[in-house]
């Protein structure tokens, strides 16, 4: 692929939209005045979609402008502007095609896995990994049909739209174009490309494609002709009838054409005898056009075709001699001449001046496969391509298309081609990189799904050599990013990003960035984002989302939820801080034994099984109160001692714990043994040495010391 083609990797100018805020933030003509007032525009772009917020603001902050602190009304307004890239009308199609895309990825994964196991099973197997079997192609064909069905459904929906706005019309064009492209890929690479079997001729598929996507002549044309007058004479006199017949012939609607010719033939006034005679003859021959079938061998079909072609040949010769006999005129060989002759149609006559006979002759010439005649009659390259295939190469296979397409395109002004024509011609010419770039210009949906499909058909390799990026990954990420700009499509967008594949993992990186920025309006949405992250292994994003949620919940005073989220993000520091807040709240409440945090940590412990020292401390401290309240000082003492010795209490809480031990030390029952008491004293000493909060009642600590001494005495006596 030449370098030149890579350069086409640019956005068409016409696809860019110029956006104006109307009315502007600076009213017309006031820009200079506003600038003098030290005012300017500030803006910030949206992290997820292609929107931005903008406002009028001072160039310097008000603090720097002590003397001039005028406040402008406009300064208090923020404008949020965004370009809508995903119209709501497209949502059903997006959801449908996303479903197909997901199932296609699943299907290909299972196929590849089974191939891998096959390859492992018999290393010298006949099927090499990566080559698609007939069954694979059949399933791809079915998937492709589903995509097309979705496009056609969307076209129907648009047609039923109540108002025919410019937008609806352009959407319809886009979908019809996408369908035409997709359909052509399907017939070239799937329908006629069954491995193992003989390659099927492309012609019937191509004509089916042509007449479905670019219907001509339109049914309305025929109806109009008949509406003008259904009798043979009316028909023959109708100036539109011969162009209509020519079009029918070009598109291979030979039976319709034959019927029409038969209806014209009996005309008395406007048709000469020779025209009537030859019209009947052409109709007969047209009806006898050989049609290939799967059962027939190529040789037998060719024989029949040659016979039929010979008949046309002799008919053509006969008509030409008729035309030539009174005043010899050359057969129309160029488009201009043919048109000149067609428009020169005057009243009915005989011989060389008979335009009807000339039209009939050009129809026969075209059906004979005469390149000049076909070229002369074709209005579009599609017409010419179809007629050439149908009448001169009826057994052509897909591999004939590139050269033929090149020949046909040469006949036309390719620089006047619309984007759809360019795309189709590039596809027919097998210039796949160019084709992908053009597809992208039709719609990002098309390039993304097309590059994905091409990857599965194994024809994307040629693009890889040309593109600086991995084509499938590039386009799928692009589509995913487009979807991310729509509020409802964040999940679809994330899944496209996640399934963009590629060894570089660009999709995963982009996905991670987006996932962390999706606004989490509700717990349910947060859970869904987290699940999507988990499904694609985005641990870092999941942690950040949990941390963010934890902070949010903490701010909102939902401490239980905050602890849960911090714990899941393994943010032990924050868990500790929230627990300290619970502890502080308890102390503030006066330590009334009414532990308000009980239900909070219950919920957290039940749900998460979070292991955290602070949480453990709070829970055990609650147990201590429960035992004490229940009149079981021994158990309470054991718990308290365990809390103190395990070192799970925050340093600032140790003193409170020691004070809590006083009633147990002084109680009727002997709770602490001598060793336990020593342990308590040791902790008290440490506490005193650290001297963290010396001002806190040292009298309490002396009471504690005395209580310890008494308890020690009792413990020795008991021992």
């Amino acid at each position: 692929m030449s370098r030149k083609k890579v350069d086409r990797f640019v956005v068409l100018r016409e696809k860019e939209a110029a956006l104006h805020l109307s009315p502007g933030l600076f009213p017309a003509g006031t820009a200079e005045e506003w600038t003098a007032e030290n005012r300017t525009l500030i803006f910030s772009t949206h992290p997820l979609n292609n929107g931005c917020a903008l406002a009028v603001a001072g160039k310097k902050t008000r603090e720097h402008l002590a003397e001039d602190n005028r406040v402008f009304e406009q300064d208090e307004k923020v404008y949020v502007c965004r370009m809508e890239t995903v119209p709501d009308e497209r949502l059903p199609f997006i959801y449908d095609s996303h479903a197909v895309f997901v199932s296609l990825q699943k299907m290909m994964r299972t196929i590849e896995e089974s191939e891998d196991t096959d390859a492992a099973g018999h290393a010298n197997g006949t099927t090499t990994s990566g080559e698609r079997t007939a069954a694979d192609i059949t399933s791809l064909l079915q998937t492709s049909a589903l995509y097309r069905e979705a496009m056609l459904r969307q076209v129907r929906v648009l047609q039923e739209a109540p108002r025919e706005t410019e937008f609806i019309l352009s959407e319809m064009d886009v979908f019809q174009a996408m369908h035409a492209v997709w359909h052509l890929v399907e017939i070239i690479y799937l329908a006629t490309n069954m491995p193992g079997g003989l390659s099927a001729p492309i012609v019937p598929h191509f004509m089916g494609w042509l007449n479905f996507n670019f219907p001509a002549p339109l049914a309305e044309d025929g109806q109009r002709i008949f509406a003008d007058g259904p009798s043979a004479d009316d028909l023959a006199a109708n100036p539109d009838v011969w162009p209509y017949l020519k079009k029918l012939a070009l598109r291979g609607h030979v039976t319709t054409m034959a019927n029409m010719l038969d209806r014209i033939a009996p005309a008395k006034s406007s048709v000469s005898a020779s025209v009537a005679r030859w019209a009947r003859e052409v109709a007969r021959i047209a009806r006898a056009m050989p049609l290939g079938s799967d059962e027939e061998t190529a040789g037998s079909f060719n024989a029949r075709w040659r016979l039929w072609n010979g008949e046309l040949q002799s008919t053509a010769t006969a008509i030409r001699s008729l035309l030539a006999s009174p005043s010899p005129s050359p057969s129309p060989s160029t488009k201009e001449e043919a048109e000149a002759e067609a428009t020169a149609a005057t009243s009915a006559g005989a011989g060389s001046d008979d335009p009807a006979l000339e039209s009939l002759y050009s129809i026969v010439e075209a059906m004979r496969g005469d390149a000049a005649a076909i070229s002369a009659q074709s209005e579009t390259w599609q017409d010419m391509m179809g007629a050439t295939l149908l009448y001169s190469e009826p057994t052509a296979q897909a591999d004939r298309l590139p050269t033929l397409a090149a020949e046909v395109a040469d006949e036309f002004q390719t620089h006047e081609f619309a984007i759809l024509d360019r795309t189709l011609v590039a596809l027919l010419r097998h210039e796949l990189p160019e084709f992908l770039v053009y597809s992208n210009q039709i719609d990002p949906w098309l390039s993304a799904h097309m590059s994905d499909m091409m990857e599965h058909i194994n024809i994307l390799g040629v693009c890889r050599r040309v593109f600086a990026v991995e084509p499938r990954e590039h386009y799928v990420i692009e589509l995913g990013e487009v979807y991310m700009s729509h509020e409802d499509l964040w999940r679809v967008g994330l899944e496209y990003l996640g399934m963009s594949g590629g060894c570089a993992g660009a999709g995963a990186a982009v996905m991670e960035e987006y996932a962390m920025r999706i606004p989490l309006e509700s717990d349910r949405k947060a859970a869904q984002v987290l699940r999507t992250c988990a499904a694609h292994g985005l641990q870092r994003a999941a942690d950040r989302i949990h941390r963010q949620l934890g902070r949010q919940k903490w701010q909102q005073g939902r401490l239980g939820a905050a602890i849960t989220h911090f714990a899941q993000a393994r943010d032990h520091r924050s868990v500790g801080l929230v627990c300290d807040q619970l502890w502080a709240a308890y102390l503030e409440s006066g330590g009334s034994g009414d532990l308000a945090y009980g239900p909070t940590i219950d919920g957290v412990l039940a749900a998460t099984g979070v292991r955290h020292d602070r949480l453990d401390f709070l829970s055990r401290y609650r147990d201590f109160h429960a035992c004490y309240g229940a009149g079981d000082p021994v158990a309470a003492g054991r718990i308290l001692l365990a809390i103190i010795t395990a070192g799970i209490a925050p340093p600032h809480a140790v003193r409170d714990l020691l004070v809590d031990a006083i009633p147990l030390l002084e109680g009727d029952a002997l709770v602490f043994s001598a060793d336990d008491t020593f342990e308590l004293l040791r902790r008290a000493e440490e506490e005193k040495r650290d001297g963290t909060n010396g001002n806190s009642s040292s009298s309490e600590m002396s009471v504690f010391s005395v209580a310890c001494a008494r308890n020690l005495a009792r413990a020795f006596v008991a021992a």
């Binding site: 959801y95 409802d488 509700s522 239980g560 219950d602 919920g603 957290v604 749900a607």
Partner: protein, 384 residues
């Protein structure tokens, strides 16, 4: 296939059937339901669909036509997080902005062009400590009360349950009952509410003492395995059995549905059904027949109808045949319902209680309305 999928281009987040008009119960050829959507398009929509009990009377055209027809739609303040039908004319919604709203409806049964949905009253019910509005998560209407006098309970991410009379929404009472979020609320009886929390607890309240938790139920570790060691077990939804007031069902974030018996406080979970692969967003006991099955929907884009009753008399013979070869296996018959064209989360469901046939309506993030109509089979009426 009994499932009909109708694309509506809205992320449907809540759905509820409307009860039939007085006097028309079990005779109405048309059924009405209300859906709520969220995200970009926040609105309530009123739909009608054919009653499958009268399917024989309808022509084939009705079968091929759209599953449901839109009768009316109205913008809603915030994502619709829950809908509860009080009567055929009154519905209550809960929104992501923490409001509880009462809407008047008329499905146009009297005159087709009269179908309408109108906001009557709206009230902020859920706030965080910093007075920012908190998203509501569910709303449920008191059973057995007259429509004019019924009370609704709503719950939200502020960990509170709010009670209000439909007729007097402004006299709303709010009680903070949990430190995480309350994700679902239901009324087992007209004097009792049960709520499930994101911390994996079910709390039961006596309406007459709404501030005090009457009972806290926790699933034992064996009954409900947490989704993974790192994440917590949370309940996403709760449903009360229509006739057995001690029986509750909760959906978990691990994809299972837990069945509870509140009479046994020591081991309240009687069985865990692992029917889904992701969070269960909504669960509902089948109100038809003997209610021996429940319907659940999930983030894995599927619906499931699970036969839970251990009572052999009420299990259908068809299910027995399917399990015939492995009759000893304790696996319950589960009917999974999913559609190729619906790959995103199914957010909500409701089972119609007013038909002999089983009619499930559900809504999904894929912008689809899913309607599953199973004609009244013999097994519902086995008892008669």
């Amino acid at each position: 296939m009994t499932l009909q999928v109708q694309p509506v281009a809205r992320r449907i987040t809540a759905v509820a059937w409307l009860p039939p008009h007085a006097g028309a119960a079990y005779n109405d050829a048309r059924l009405s339901f209300v859906t709520g959507s969220g995200g970009k398009h926040r609105e309530l929509a009123l739909w009608t669909t054919g009653n499958p009990d009268f399917a024989d009377n309808t022509t084939d055209e009705d079968q091929t036509a759209a599953a449901a027809t839109l009768a009316a739609r109205v913008a809603h303040d915030g994502d619709v997080r829950g809908i509860a039908a009080v009567s055929s004319q009154t519905i209550v919604t809960a929104s992501s902005f923490g409001t509880v709203s009462v809407y008047q409806t008329d499905d146009g049964a009297a005159a087709a062009e009269r179908a309408r949905l109108e906001l009557r009253e709206s009230m902020t019910a859920h706030r965080f400590g910093d007075s920012a509005p908190a998203a509501a998560t569910d709303v449920a209407v008191q059973p057995g009360a007259a429509a004019s006098d019924a009370e609704v309970a709503s719950c939200g991410e502020d960990g509170a349950i709010a009670y209000a009379r439909v007729a007097r929404l402004d006299a709303l009472q709010r009680f903070e009952v949990d430190s995480t979020a309350v994700t679902g609320v239901c009324w087992p009886t007209s004097t009792q509410t049960a709520a499930c929390t994101r911390a994996g607890q079910v709390k039961v309240f006596d309406r007459r003492a709404p501030a005090d938790v009457a009972a806290v139920l926790i699933a034992s570790q064996t009954a409900a395995a947490a989704p993974s060691s790192s994440s917590a077990l949370a309940f996403e939804c709760i449903a009360a059995h229509p006739s057995q007031s001690f029986r509750l069902a909760t959906g978990t974030n691990a994809g299972s549905v837990l069945l509870w018996d509140t009479r046994n406080m020591r081991a309240p979970v009687i069985e865990a059904f692992n029917v889904h692969r992701a969070s269960v967003w909504d669960v509902c006991f089948d109100p038809v027949g003997s209610s021996s099955s429940f319907v659940s929907c999930s983030d894995d884009a599927s619906l499931a109808v699970t036969q839970w009753s251990a009572d052999p008399a009420s299990s259908s013979p068809a299910a027995a045949d399917e399990d015939g070869s492995a009759s000893s296996s304790p696996a319950r018959p589960v009917r999974h319902i999913s559609s190729f064209f619906n790959v995103l989360s199914v957010n909500c469901l409701d089972v119609c209680a007013f038909t002999r046939a089983s009619v499930i309506v559900a809504g999904s993030d894929s912008g689809n309305l899913l309607i599953d109509k199973v004609p009244a089979s013999d097994h519902h009426f086995r008892l008669f």
